[in-house]
């Protein structure tokens, strides 16, 4: 016998009552013991157990019996509906819950590492170049308002650089490639960007930091690599695809956020893109008859690393003369390193990249094919 409330389905009136089960027949009795309804249990819809929420018995005519006494309902049914009973057991078992957390994190990791890059790159491939370019239109104009000032380089120097770099831009960058000179509003920061529409931005500080014209050429080749491989487009597609896939699979937006550990995977996308751009640059430089070591030496200076000779000397156990850092890099204190306009933050893992480029330059043929 289960205590609960009965309602006839015609209105909000309910009355205290009890439910009895005898011979497969469910009978609801009012306080005076009169039968309110009686029907075969097979014809009533009994809600499955969900934590400790009330259970309802629904009869064919819309009548309903509700009770909070879950234990009594389970005992009465004795054999709880197997499917739903299993869910209830899963939801109340800590080991099962821990396994579920592992499943969610594991699936999110696999998704972020393998499925999302593949799907996003497929989408990027489907997109016409005009469409990709349209996505980046006005990007320079918008950043001009916030980040940049016009370049302070002398006109002649700008013209000279444009002339020197025109050939490379035309040969590797395609018709949309354009060169822009800017300086940061905030102060002297060496950096270079590629925008989705093919624009390449060099800051004054970067131009001045270069000790050799070919170092600027090398940086421009690296940025053309970003444009040619559509890295900005692919990165933004990957970023949105992850959330979308999780949402599709679970119907829950919050499930994507719970997979926060996969943000670490997303960071590795950038490393992959930098490697691709470096590879592109090395190949272009070799085709141009320029040593790829120019890219490495420029990166060393940008990253505030010691020149190659000093590092080799240090590795061989010789004395390191001081700590040779460039002025631009040595002003990078802790908070500056978090700054989004710093070359470091837009190009992480510089040291690893430099070593890879130097190795690739030493043995170009097998590494690049």
């Amino acid at each position: 016998m289960i205590d609960g409330f009965f309602s006839d389905g015609r209105g909000s009136r309910r009355m205290p009552s009890t439910l009895q089960l005898a011979g497969g027949q469910a009978t609801v009795l009012d306080a005076a013991g009169r039968a309110l309804i009686s029907a075969p249990l097979a014809d009533t819809r009994i809600s499955s157990r969900l934590a400790s929420t009330p259970r309802s018995f629904r009869f064919a005519g819309g009548e309903q019996f509700v009770t909070s006494d879950n234990a009594a309902v389970d005992a009465l049914l004795r054999q709880p509906d197997s499917r739903w009973g299993l869910l209830q057991r899963l939801e109340s078992n800590y080991l099962a819950v821990i396994v579920c957390v592992a499943i969610v994190w594991g699936a999110a990791f696999l998704l972020a590492r393998y499925c999302v890059p593949w799907a996003a790159d497929q989408m990027a491939r489907q997109m016409s170049p005009e469409m990709a370019a349209r996505m980046g239109q006005g990007a320079l104009r918008l950043t001009d308002g916030v980040l940049f000032r016009p370049s302070a380089l002398p006109r002649e120097r700008q013209l000279q650089l444009r002339k020197q770099l025109q050939g490379v831009l035309e040969r590797y960058g395609g018709p949309a490639a354009k060169l822009h000179f800017r300086r940061f509003r905030r102060g002297p920061m060496p950096n270079a960007f590629a925008l989705p529409d093919g624009s390449i931005v060099l800051t004054d500080t970067l131009v001045k930091l270069a000790l050799h014209e070919n170092e600027i050429l090398a940086v421009v080749c690296h940025e053309i690599g970003h444009v040619q491989h559509r890295h900005l487009l692919r990165q933004s597609l990957r970023a949105s695809a992850f959330g979308a896939l999780i949402f599709l699979a679970t119907g829950e937006a919050s499930a994507a956020i719970v997979s926060l550990p996969t943000v670490l995977v997303a960071l590795s996308y950038r490393r992959e893109f930098e490697r691709e751009a470096d590879q592109f640059a090395i190949k272009a430089l070799i085709d141009e008859g320029v040593s790829p070591l120019h890219l490495a030496s420029m990166l060393r200076r940008l990253g505030g690393l010691a020149p190659r000779e000093a590092e080799d000397a240090a590795r061989e156990g010789n004395e390191v003369p001081g700590k040779p850092r460039t002025p631009a890099a040595s002003e990078g204190r802790f908070f500056r390193d978090l700054d989004a306009t710093d070359y470091f933050s837009t190009h992480p893992d510089i040291h690893e990249r430099v070593l890879w480029i130097e190795a690739a330059a030493a043995a170009p043929a097998p590494e690049l094919q």
Binding site: S12, P54, G62, G145, R186, E252, S254, A340
Partner: protein, 394 residues
């Protein structure tokens, strides 16, 4: 993790109670028998964060393992949990939907979205976006509400939604104006020099806020006026002015927070301890957070305080600090637990809402009659509900 949230805040539910009890002698003194005193029934949320977390993580894991098919069952279980733990006058709400119609609706919705994505890629995406979305959105909203109301019950009486497509279009058309204005403004911004753009920003934001208030008002009125509990229709008594003042006050809150943060932060920038690019996003997030919290509590209050059934009404007494504190606690715990707290955060927020909303009944709660029995839903409703992501009955 599951203690009663903001114990200090639940005291602010009291004004509604005392107001109701103060009404009693007044009404008796005037001898007005047609307005007997109202009895205040606070809503109550009895769910528990850990309990829901376990349900939720099983939901997500099974959804992933079944490639999304289980998500329909997951949704039903989540909604059932939130509805069944929301109590009013000693009776729980009930969510009645079965998973299969939800699965069907979701499958159609995914197919439609895929179609939309494809059209975006091969046709002129903007045109599809500008034409299909305004036509489809009101339809999806009406169907989604109809499904949700039909599947919601209290005391074995289902809710109903009587809104039509055309009424929804009429309620939502200011959104189109907002969209057009925004597109125009962005185009203007890109073409104009930065100084002029800054000058244009303030009137643009004011206009946008006014339009947002207009949409909020029209949509709330549409939603309440066409809702019914059984055969009893709800009425919505708010005025446009109420919504406009809320949205303007929201703007003021954003401005105030920006100013306060500016006073604190500016010396730090001048001293060179931190730089502007690092701190500005922090200030902006604080502004947006404060504005969202203010707007949410104010619109929830006006929504419930203006909705009524004949002889009954609601009293909502959410406070800015109470909601902001609840959200901040949730945000902090969600970050610390790498997001695992999110399901429990939903429980905490549902509990805060329930604690600050009350139903004031004048007559007996036994006299509502049920609408014609309808449990089946058309495919349109099933598709519409696929875009409805709310879990709790509020």
């Amino acid at each position: 993790m599951n203690e009663h949230p903001a114990t200090g805040q639940s005291a602010s539910a009291l004004p509604a109670d005392t107001a109701a009890s103060r009404e009693k002698p007044a009404a008796a003194a005037e001898g007005a028998p047609e307005s007997p005193p109202r009895k205040t029934h606070p809503f109550e949320f009895r769910g528990n964060g850990l309990e829901y977390f376990k349900i939720w993580i099983v939901n997500v894991a099974l959804s992933i393992l079944t490639l999304g098919i289980y998500s329909a069952w997951a949704t039903v279980r989540s909604r059932r949990y939130f509805y069944a733990n929301t109590w009013l006058a000693g009776e729980p709400f009930e969510y009645l939907a079965s998973p299969l119609p939800i699965l069907k609706g979701r499958a159609v919705a995914v197919a439609l979205l895929a179609l939309y994505a494809l059209s975006n890629m091969y046709l002129m995406g903007e045109i599809v976006f500008l034409i299909v979305l305004p036509i489809a959105a009101p339809w999806l909203i009406v169907k989604g509400l109809a499904f949700r109301h039909r599947m919601s019950a209290w005391r074995n009486v289902q809710f109903r939604f009587h809104g039509t497509y055309l009424k929804a279009v009429a309620a939502l058309w200011p959104v189109l104006l907002i969209a057009a204005l925004s597109l125009g403004f962005v185009a203007l911004l890109v073409k104009s020099p930065p100084q002029l753009a800054l000058l244009l920003l303030l009137p643009y934001v004011l206009l946008l806020m006014f339009l947002a208030a207009w949409v909020g008002f029209r949509f709330s009125r549409f939603r309440v006026n066409y809702s019914a509990y059984g055969t009893t229709r709800f009425r919505f008594g708010a005025k446009l002015g109420g919504y406009v003042s809320i949205f303007m006050a929201t703007l003021g809150v954003g401005f105030f927070v920006g100013m306060v943060c500016g006073i604190v932060v500016f010396p730090l920038i001048l001293l060179g301890t931190f730089n502007a690019e690092l701190l500005l996003p922090v200030v902006t997030s604080a502004q947006i957070f404060a504005m969202l919290a203010f707007q949410k509590q104010a619109t929830t209050n006006i929504y419930f305080n203006s909705a009524a059934l004949p002889g009954h009404d609601f009293r909502a007494s959410l406070s800015f600090w109470g909601l902001a504190k609840t959200w901040l606690i949730c945000l902090f715990l969600a970050v610390v637990t790498l997001g695992l707290y999110l399901p429990a955060a939903r429980v905490r927020i549902a509990r805060y809402m329930a604690d600050h909303i009350a139903f004031r009944a004048r007559d007996s709660l036994e006299e509502f009659s049920a609408a014609e029995a309808q449990r089946a839903s058309a495919l349109g409703e099933q598709v519409g509900q696929a875009f409805d992501v709310e879990l709790s009955p509020f």
